[in-house]
Symmetry: C2
Subunit: 276 residues, 2 copies
């Protein structure tokens, strides 16, 4: 009784192990890279973005853990290693995802060197981008679209929500922390949307033309799952032409935002040509 | 392409239906009631607590949806109706839980009439109370304790984390929004811990002596699940004596905090005598 408040904060080993397993699985760290690039492209300097980038990567990792669950995509491998639930069991995987999502907000809330108004903006926007009108809406629509023919417009909507929202968050948060004007923030939101679509078209193309050993996951799964994809709707050449359109529109956003630094341009090209 | 940003925010019907099903299932609304009582006991007036109370109830509801999942407690009924996954399927239930948890933070972030510093405190503290060193730690330890004998100290630790953290949040958030001193906040944290334990002892007692039709869930499930409980460790009379201890300690906290209003005293007594 006397020590009731002593065992106040406990991080159980099994939970820590499961969370760290997925956080350390690697991946491209694309969202942190985009956030830092956006921050520095607008003249931001120092480590102010780091906690926000970590929080975003935590949210991204949680979404992968829950997406892989048997009741969802039922995947056994991710980034070349067993998925979280295959390694630790379903219950721990659900809790590990919940833990990463929940904790991400206090990582921003407790960050040093970010003002309270900025924290409220970044936490609220993360909640929206990842929440039921953002990423979770995309996941829901994606599930409902299985085994159905989708139109190009529906496909864009799903990807914009499911993938685009968090990628856009990375870019907008970086620009916001560098102190850009609201008009520029709107341009970066648009840029983020194109980046999300470029990412997804290339994902679909790689599922047709990619190398499983480079990708770290099997190819041809879209065909197997009867998923609507860009190559299926537009043909492989049509999908590549669609990508070029998105790349041009993304570059236009950056020019309108008057960015001198070339890093976001380079990342746009990288994403359109990536092999993994 | 032109309307890319038009379908920016979508809340799919199926997701909304699943989320609202669980939010509207009722329950005691204990956490909102405690938050408002704490707020008004310290002289708070107006509706400032409402969005924070709603956010907390959302987090509580998410935790019930995920706890009921087949991989976790595998429950078919909750509050006298089918559990979320029984009604909407497992995938939607996982997403509904994720949606409630994620959205809760922007409900606080977008609240009117709360200062940015207050919002950062309330959002960060919610993340801690519900996260991997709070409620999720409790859930993990509870799973690991299944089919094992626990000591009274271990039992207290699990309940303090799993149930106590969110109940304490309710009380501390209410007191905080009323503008109390840090020392008083510490006293209310202690009070919240006792409230959590009182809640749990009575839960255990009701599982032995309660009426399933009043409770809205079956009794005797602890015995069936071989769970360690207060009556099992201390006997039924011992459990009741333990509760009286907690009730006295809770009242002492309120007296030290110099609360004139009797509502928190009354709620303490109610929780120790509740039949559902």
């Amino acid at each position: 009784m006397m020590n009731l408040l002593e065992h106040d904060n406990i991080l159980p080993n099994s939970l820590a192990e499961s969370v760290l397993y997925s956080m350390r699985a690697g991946g491209k760290r694309l969202r942190p890279i985009l956030m830092r690039a956006a921050f520095e492209s607008f003249g931001g300097r120092g480590d102010k973005v780091l906690p926000v980038a970590a929080a975003l990567e935590m949210v991204h990792t949680y979404s992968l853990i829950h997406d892989d669950l048997p009741a969802m995509d039922d995947d056994d491998y991710r980034r070349g290693q067993l998925t979280n639930h295959k390694k630790f069991g379903e219950a721990t995987a659900i809790l590990a995802g919940d833990a990463l999502l929940t904790r991400s907000f206090s990582v921003i809330g407790q960050a040093v060197g970010i003002q309270p108004e900025e924290k409220v903006y970044l936490m609220s926007y993360l909640s929206e981008a990842a929440g039921p009108t953002g990423m979770i809406a995309g996941q829901t629509l994606d599930m409902e679209a299985e085994d159905k023919e989708s139109t190009l417009d529906q496909l864009e909507q799903i990807h914009n929500l499911k993938t685009g929202k968090l990628l856009t968050y990375a870019i907008v948060a970086g620009a916001y922390l560098a102190g850009v004007k609201p008009e520029t923030l709107d341009l970066m939101k648009q840029f983020g949307t194109y980046i999300g679509l470029i990412f997804q078209v290339q994902d679909d193309i790689l599922d047709v033309t990619g190398d499983a050993s480079v990708l770290g996951k099997p190819v041809g799964s879209d065909e197997e799952n009867k998923k609507s994809t860009y190559p299926k709707l537009l043909g492989l050449d049509g999908a590549k032409a669609q990508m070029d359109k998105y790349v041009n529109l993304a570059h236009q956003c950056l020019e309108q935002a008057e960015i001198k630094d070339s890093r976001l341009h380079e990342l746009t090209v990288y994403l359109s040509r990536r092999t993994s």
